[in-house]
């Protein structure tokens, strides 16, 4: 009796897992399918599964002006720069915050939490004005500055929690040995923070890779566009025609690096996100 009950439970769970996967992956698999179909097969729908397969959508997108890989390269450059900037600013700040108590910590901590929750889309107009006045528009290096600023709240909170977990004796011993602050950070503390630094860096990279409103307003030269505004431009350029095979090829290409990143670093990404929830 209880055996069949358990079997039925397991069966029900398998069905639920299948539904979950279908919901999560279905839309993307459909994009993959669409990207490999010819325009005729898509619009007439009559070619069946046998015919109508093509790589033309990919060659179209990759030979565009500028070619699609250019946007992905730009996104990668901005992502890498933003991650470097963020970590360079966040690590000393998080260290100092974790070693301080009292009012300063309370104030800065509370401010960081509020900033981490804040919908940053509200800031784009003022940031655009900064870009105009300082001549920072159409510059990928400059774009990573606001990205670093927007990533700082979460980054400092995550790293601060990781610093707080390191035993104080470790640093006290190094202090007795005559290590300076920078030496302590570099040789004693940071080597132990690998996982926290990696998960923070990954979250910053993901944010920069996906960011839209600021990239949309700071970049106008098409060869400098990052992925998100490039997608919007592709979507807006052809409201009345239906080049969906090319759209789908673009979405597949734009998703692949993230899929790889997620599969390679799933543990760090999950750890970073859940840490944020528990410590926040």
């Amino acid at each position: 009796m209880s055996g069949t009950h358990r079997q039925r439970m397991a069966l029900g769970r398998s069905a639920l897992v299948a539904l979950l996967l279908l919901w999560s992956l279905g839309p993307m698999l459909w994009q993959l399918y669409t990207s490999l179909r010819s325009a005729d097969a898509l619009l007439l729908g009559s070619a069946g599964l046998g015919g109508g397969w093509t790589l033309a959508n990919y060659t179209d997108v990759l030979s565009g002006d500028p070619p699609f890989w250019r946007y992905m390269l730009n996104s990668t450059v901005v992502g890498a720069l933003s991650t470097l900037f963020t970590l360079a600013l966040a690590i000393p700040c998080a260290y100092a915050l974790s070693r301080r108590g009292g009012l300063l910590r309370l104030l800065v901590g509370g401010g960081l939490l509020a900033a981490a929750v804040f919908p940053y889309v509200l800031l784009f107009l003022a940031l655009l004005e900064v870009a105009r006045q300082l001549g920072l528009a159409n510059n990928l290096l400059a774009l990573s500055l606001p990205y670093a600023g927007l990533s700082l709240p979460l980054a400092v909170l995550l790293l601060q929690a990781a610093f707080a977990e390191l035993p104080v004796e470790l640093e006290e011993n190094a202090l007795l040995e005559g290590f300076s602050l920078l030496q302590r950070l570099r040789w004693i503390l940071l080597p132990l923070m690998g996982p926290a630094v990696a998960s923070t860096g990954l979250l910053v990279f993901l944010f920069s890779w996906n960011e839209f409103p600021i990239a949309l307003t700071w970049l106008s030269r098409s060869e400098l566009l990052t992925l998100a505004p490039a997608m919007a431009r592709i979507a807006g350029s052809s409201v009345f025609t239906v080049p969906y095979g090319a759209f789908a090829a673009a979405t597949v290409l734009g998703s692949l690096p993230l899929l790889a990143l997620l599969l390679l670093f799933q543990r760090q990404i999950v750890a970073g996100l859940t840490q944020g929830a528990i410590k926040g």
């Binding site: 889309v121 919007a232 979507a235 997620l262």
Partner: protein, 285 residues
């Protein structure tokens, strides 16, 4: 002193990115700066604010944004809790499935918004193709105001539920297993344990998720711009999109800043409401 020195670079950038814009908006909302003033700021007192109070489109967008946020986040919470409960149980392949379900969250919103436009295309998208092959009429998902906003909610729920599920999963992992065993020994059913053990202990996590997701959903921008462009007839336009249009299309920077601040006030009221709700639930429990 050295602590402040270490924090100074980060704090300065934070002030520049988060605080300065809000001060700038406060000043700009008291100026006329548009094509009529040659894009130069001219002080106009509270004219922008008076216009905001009487602006039907602002209030329509505020209502739409709020409705979008409440419905999406509500659905994400229920669905995300279901995902989390399923992913918390022990079964083979759980690790891989956890990673795969996170994929929608990791993708750029603009990328999948373009994907949804094809999936809901009328009449060539797969859903309408399926309906037609069943002999049904094709549905104008993105051309009818009612359906367009439902489609937008669906796309948002698809993208952000994994995030909600992951945070709730972190919460589930903090609940000691013996609590469930004790509850079962006293004759409680699994359904009762969900309401009497899981949800009360998950409350802080639910609160964090709600706060974060509500704030983000009130700022919805990327999805609307690419999926519907705010249409049809601005029925899916959010406040962020309206502020954007005022600045970049109507070149009315003074009023755009005022809309941003109006949105900020809405955000503050919603967060305060959520905090009050959390207090009351806590007191009652």
């Amino acid at each position: 002193m050295s602590a402040l020195l270490l924090m100074a670079p980060a704090l300065l950038l934070l002030l520049a990115v988060f605080v300065w814009p809000l001060l700038d908006y406060a000043w700009l909302s008291l100026q006329a700066q548009s094509v009529f003033t040659g894009l130069q700021p001219e002080p106009v007192g509270l004219a922008n604010w008076q216009r905001l109070l009487a602006d039907g489109r602002f209030w329509q967008d505020a209502g739409q944004t709020l409705r979008f946020a409440v419905v999406s986040v509500g659905l994400e919470l229920v669905l995300g809790l279901g995902f989390a409960l399923l992913l918390h149980q022990r079964w083979r392949g759980r690790g891989v499935v956890r990673t795969l379900t996170l994929l929608p969250w990791a993708l750029p919103t603009t990328v999948m918004a373009l994907g949804w436009r094809w999936i809901f295309n009328d009449p060539n998208g797969p859903i309408n193709a399926l309906l037609q092959s069943l002999g049904l009429a094709s549905v104008p998902f993105l051309a009818s105001p009612q359906l367009a906003w439902q489609t937008t909610v669906l796309a948002d729920v698809w993208k952000t539920t994994p995030f909600v599920a992951l945070l709730l999963l972190a919460g589930l992992q903090m609940i000691p297993a013996d609590l469930y065993e004790a509850f079962a020994l006293e004759g409680g059913s699994p359904w009762q344990s969900l309401w009497r053990v899981t949800l009360p202990l998950l409350r802080p996590y639910i609160f964090i998720v709600l706060l974060f997701r509500l704030a983000q959903a009130l700022g919805v921008f990327d999805l609307v711009v690419v999926l519907t462009g705010g249409g049809p007839a601005s029925s899916t336009e959010s406040l962020a999109v309206y502020a954007y249009l005022n600045a970049m299309r109507f070149l009315d920077f003074g009023y755009s800043a005022t809309v941003m601040l109006g949105m900020f006030v809405l955000l503050l009221i919603s967060s305060a409401g959520l905090l009050l709700l959390q207090r009351r639930v806590q007191v009652r429990a």
